[in-house]
């Protein structure tokens, strides 16, 4: 009998195994039920909810200032960008904008987060596919970025730095110098990332042609972020619906047409360089002025519905606030990028070998609390 109390061999002779909720390569507590014919995957069924923390229900009782903190615990690797999405959505309701200084600080922080997130993903992809060294290389740079975050925001992981109207504190006096140092370190060391993993024969064999998804399917499944861009779907919110002045900086949307694990890997690797380029454009051009626009102590949004989409490290995050005029939201819905990306896993894994599933999950870059919320 399996975990769910069902037979482990079906009538068709398919073998049913449960992967997770406790499994090192599910990046948390994802539970996949897999039907196998020998080693070939016939069906994959994700079972969710092992970290469903009822954030949406909780937020209905919190004020518009307070509900933001919970989002940094959703996709904790893009904590800044999640906070930013909420702050932007509240600003949209109030019809105000963050101050110019705050906007630039927000972009800088968001890109640093994206960089740190992609580095952690790269290290974990290495771990999942049997290479331990990438983990240590990636964390070398990641820790440097975490140090910058800590200096300015006071926290390493769940910063809670964005508030409606701007950012919570001004940047640390040392911020610009330190960012420049770290950017130099990242650029100097990025070639090591490619040398150690990208050209590796074992790595290429395990990722090339594995987990293919076409552009039409990617759109139909609602895939966003590097997953969709690796299939050739242009979906970068920073380009399509620019927020915070992303239209004023120069960067490329990385697209690939491979649609497989290797393409998803390459898209993320190239995105790191784009993030570095955005940071370098802005780091010397932070405008002077207030870091926070003046807002009332108790924020009340007018009656109505507000939707804000941002590009996190994993794709499109949507924040949907329904307000009835009170001091707390009537309903909040988070459209999480991982949730839709995960729904395509059955399509990608069907017909592949069970070992390929690890590569597929690694390159989907799942963060489970963001799926379950």
């Amino acid at each position: 009998m399996g975990l769910l109390g069902e037979d482990i061999v079906t009538e068709d002779g398919e073998f049913v195994i449960n992967m997770g909720p406790q499994h090192p390569s599910t990046h948390g507590v994802l539970h996949l039920k897999i039907w196998l014919d020998g080693e070939t995957i016939k069906r994959v069924q994700p079972h969710l909810g092992y970290i469903h923390r009822s954030i949406e229900k909780m937020s209905e009782n919190l004020s518009y200032r307070n509900f933001i903190f919970a989002t940094s615990r959703m996709d904790y690797l893009s904590a800044h960008i999640n906070n930013e999405a909420c702050a932007l959505c509240v600003e949209k309701g109030l019809q105000i904008e963050a101050t110019p200084r705050a906007q630039v600080i927000r972009i800088l922080m968001a890109e640093l987060t994206r960089l740190a997130s992609h580095q952690l993903w790269w290290g974990c992809t290495g771990l999942d596919l049997g290479a331990v060294t990438p983990f240590f290389y990636a964390f070398r740079e990641r820790e440097a970025i975490m140090g910058i975050m800590e200096e300015t925001c006071g926290a390493r992981l769940t910063m809670n730095y964005m508030v409606p109207g701007g950012v919570m504190y001004d940047i640390h006096p040392n911020f610009q110098n330190r960012v420049k140092e770290v950017m130099k370190q990242v650029k100097d060391n990025l070639h090591e990332y490619f040398e150690i993993l990208t050209g590796n024969v074992i790595f290429e064999n395990r990722t090339k042609g594995v987990g293919y998804i076409s552009a039409e399917d990617a759109i139909s499944y609602g895939c966003t972020g590097p997953v969709a861009r690796a299939s050739g779907v242009s979906c970068d919110i920073r380009k399509w619906f620019p927020y915070e002045g992303y239209d004023k900086v120069q960067f490329d949307e990385i697209l690939d047409t491979g649609g497989d694990c290797y393409a998803r890997y390459m898209v993320r690797m190239k995105e790191m360089l784009q993030s570095v380029s955005i940071i370098e454009q802005l780091i010397d051009n932070i405008p002077e002025g207030d870091f926070q626009a003046k807002t009332k102590n108790v924020i009340k949004l007018p009656k109505g519905e507000f939707y804000q989409r941002v590009e996190t490290a994993r794709g499109e995050l949507g924040v949907f606030i329904v307000s009835d005029g009170a001091a707390s939201p009537y309903r909040i819905k988070y459209r999480s990028p991982n949730f839709s990306n995960l729904s395509a896993i059955e399509h990608m894994a069907k017909g592949a070998k069970i070992g390929d599933l690890i590569a597929i999950m690694a390159t989907l870059d799942l963060v489970i609390p963001d799926i379950d919320r």
Partner: protein
Amino acid sequence: MTNEEIKLFISAHIPAAIYEETGEFLNAIIPSEELLPIMKEMRSNRDLNFDYLFCLTCIDWKDHLMMVYHLTSKKHKHTLVIKAKITDVNDPKIETVSGIWKTAIFHEREVYDLFGVTFLNHPDLRRLFLMDDWEGWPLRKNYVDENMIEI
């Protein structure tokens, strides 16, 4: 297509449709029974071509439930919000759109799990986040849970 053209198109199919344009997107409120044909038309019509359903959720307004579908077209770059009003709150039912957009399979399961909306003809309608024996629909406004500590 501009918002006016989309409005004309929907009104031709559903005369009872109501429009809201105060927010960022054009909202079209339709009765829940007429959802599926218009959605099929939205997806397959060449001039509309709403191929990307980026958000699907539900709002509990106590006397009725409102299904909200955020649609956009990758080709034409226009966005539309379709709202389907479900008046029967005790036994809410609506047609599934998972045959049109595959992302709806998961999103509709989430809505079923948290709001108790039954999606007719859904391929795999089960609880998504909560245990199968969970009682009640947590995101409904009338949900009571004795284990929940309220402030």
